[in-house]
């Protein structure tokens, strides 16, 4: 038997997503698209010159999983440094493909562990990871810019 995918936290974030808006004055933004299902979102971040994510937000349309994941991500990112955000991206990625067992391995995922059962739904992994890949893309772009 697979773990229940639609846990209350996920349903609740789907119903009332947090930071669901265009972020005026964003320093970093990227667009994410899942051609398989048509999910489409923008991730915005306001990052201070010393590399702290002051605020994160998202806009777009998608399924409950992608919306809840994006919503919870924006909450988790607030106050994190870029390095911390990259580490979290890494851990979340491992979590959704079933390579990180939050009960057994140390991690910084906290509430995000609500997605720990999603690896049992392979077709839905991309729904959960879309916003994270988009966020990661937005950060990567900075790196390119900052190396110039």
């Amino acid at each position: 038997m697979r773990d229940e995918l639609y846990q209350q936290t996920i349903l609740e974030h789907n119903r009332s997503p947090r930071n669901f808006k265009k972020l005026e004055g964003a320093t970093h933004l990227a667009e994410g698209y899942n051609p398989l299902c048509g999910d489409h979102l923008q991730v915005y971040m306001k990052i201070t010159p010393n590399g702290v994510i002051e605020e994160a937000a998202f806009e777009g349309s998608g399924c409950a999983i992608s919306k809840a994941s994006a919503s919870m991500m924006t909450m988790a990112l607030k106050g994190k440094t870029i390095d911390e955000a990259n580490l979290l991206f890494d851990e979340f990625h491992k979590l959704v493909i079933g390579q990180l067992k939050p009960d057994l391995q140390p991690n910084h995922l906290e509430k995000l562990t609500v997605f720990s059962g999603i690896w049992q739904y392979p077709a839905r992994v991309k729904c959960a990871s879309l916003s994270w890949h988009t966020m990661h893309g937005a950060l990567e772009k900075t790196k390119i810019i900052s190396t110039e």
């Binding site: 038997m1 639609y6 048509g38 409950a64």
Partner: protein, 408 residues
């Protein structure tokens, strides 16, 4: 449904007997691919167990036997499509390859800058992208027939698009995402009045309607084996002999040649000119069994059965609060696309899967259709001859259960 004993046919499909998440499988994703009857599985198996050989090559027993079986399949396909000649039947790996073959062989050879190609707004990506590629290569122009809110081709707009510049018209017979049955005969006749060549995408039509390419008078027609109870990896291209003769080969290789020297190559006759390399032999042999199975069932009875399923499914889904059907054409086959308020189709797909119900969710490779209706995706129940009203009840219950999850 008296004339049609659905349970007799169900017993021919072993895949129907499985459980999914502890519940009996309810397979409603037939527009993606159909389940296979035992005779198809047996035919493919028999080839691999006692009949393996390449075709058109050896003089040994197995090779002659495989070649005979392979070529007999071509006869069965010819008869199934009511084509005039067996040379007009080309085996490909699927409808997609068939369309690409027409675009790259016929299209690149005969279309030039400024020529126009007409498709409709409800085409599958496989009947859009090959023509876009051709337009890039030749400078031809792609024109699109608009559809209305019911998901029907607007015939008057089609007539306006047709002109002396129209060189090719490629249209879907039955829409995979809307279920619409297009009036292909009338569409073909109008194109012919302008001297255009007509391609019919029969990928969905093939399991729903009898096909007579001579009566239709289409110039090309394509379908895939796996959507008509047959194996994956095999498709058919029907083409009128005069066009196939005039077309250059699509791919080069073995089997499509008469003689090869470094000074030059003489191509083989039809149909082999278009069948380079070892073909999907087991699949072609399996396709024959699929078509024979279908022919053993009366079209009229199947049509009646599917009509009842379509009407029943539409009725019970619409009885659920918040359900909207996408695609309400007057002429429609047993494909029901729908959306549920407040639940994304992907969530719905996962939740009904928990109940053992297989539906397709997504854009169904028809993104322009989704754009027209202003939705990202739909849920789609597509029904085959082995489906039952009881299965539609299970679907409806599963949809209600999904709503309950989302209303918590």
């Amino acid at each position: 449904m008296s004339a049609f004993d659905v349970h007799r046919y169900r017993s021919e499909f072993p895949n129907l007997k499985i459980n999914v998440h502890g519940k009996p499988l309810v397979y409603l994703d037939n527009a993606a691919t159909t389940l296979k009857p035992r005779c198809v599985i047996d035919a493919v198996n028999a080839y691999y167990v006692t009949g393996v050989s390449n075709v058109h090559r050896g003089v040994h027993f197995l090779s002659e036997q495989a070649t005979a079986a392979f070529e007999f399949s071509r006869q069965v396909v010819r008869q199934f499509l009511h084509a005039r000649r067996v040379e007009e039947i080309i085996f490909t790996k699927g409808a997609t390859e068939s369309l690409n073959l027409i675009a790259q062989s016929y299209g690149r050879h005969f279309l030039k800058k400024g020529d126009e190609i007409i498709i409709s707004h409800m085409e599958h990506h496989s009947n859009i992208v090959p023509w876009q590629m051709l337009c890039q290569q030749t400078g031809s122009v792609l024109k699109v027939i608009p559809i209305n809110d019911k998901g029907e081709i607007i015939f008057e707009e089609y007539l306006k698009l047709l002109s002396d510049r129209t060189k090719l018209v490629s249209l879907v017979w039955v829409s995979n995402s809307l279920g619409t049955v297009n009036p292909v005969k009338a569409l073909i006749d109008e194109a012919h009045k302008r001297g255009a060549v007509v391609v019919i995408d029969a990928a969905q039509a093939v399991t729903h309607l009898p096909i007579n390419v001579q009566e239709l008078d289409c110039d090309f027609l394509v379908f895939s084996g796996h959507k008509v109870l047959g194996p994956t990896g095999v498709g058919v291209l029907f083409g009128k002999e005069k066009y196939l003769e005039a077309m250059p080969p699509y791919q080069g290789g073995g089997d499509m040649i008469k003689s090869v020297t470094f000074a030059g190559t003489t191509y083989n006759d039809l149909p082999y000119k278009f069948e380079a390399g070892t073909p999907p032999i087991a699949e072609v042999i399996g396709l024959r069994s699929a078509l024979e199975f279908l022919q053993s069932v009366s079209w009229e009875n199947v049509k009646e059965h599917k009509k009842e399923l379509l009407e029943y499914g539409t009725k019970i889904l619409l009885a659920i609060d918040g359900v909207r059907i996408i695609g309400t054409a007057k002429e429609k086959t047993s494909i029901i696309s729908f959306v549920v308020d407040g639940i994304h189709p992907h969530d719905l797909g996962t939740l009904v899967d928990q109940e053992g119900v297989a539906i397709r969710t997504g854009h169904h490779c028809t993104q322009p259709v989704m754009q027209y209706f202003g939705i990202p995706a739909t849920a789609r129940a597509s029904l085959a001859l082995y489906n039952t009203k009881e299965e539609l009840d299970i679907l409806a219950q599963a949809v209600k259960k999904a709503q309950a999850v989302f209303q918590h």
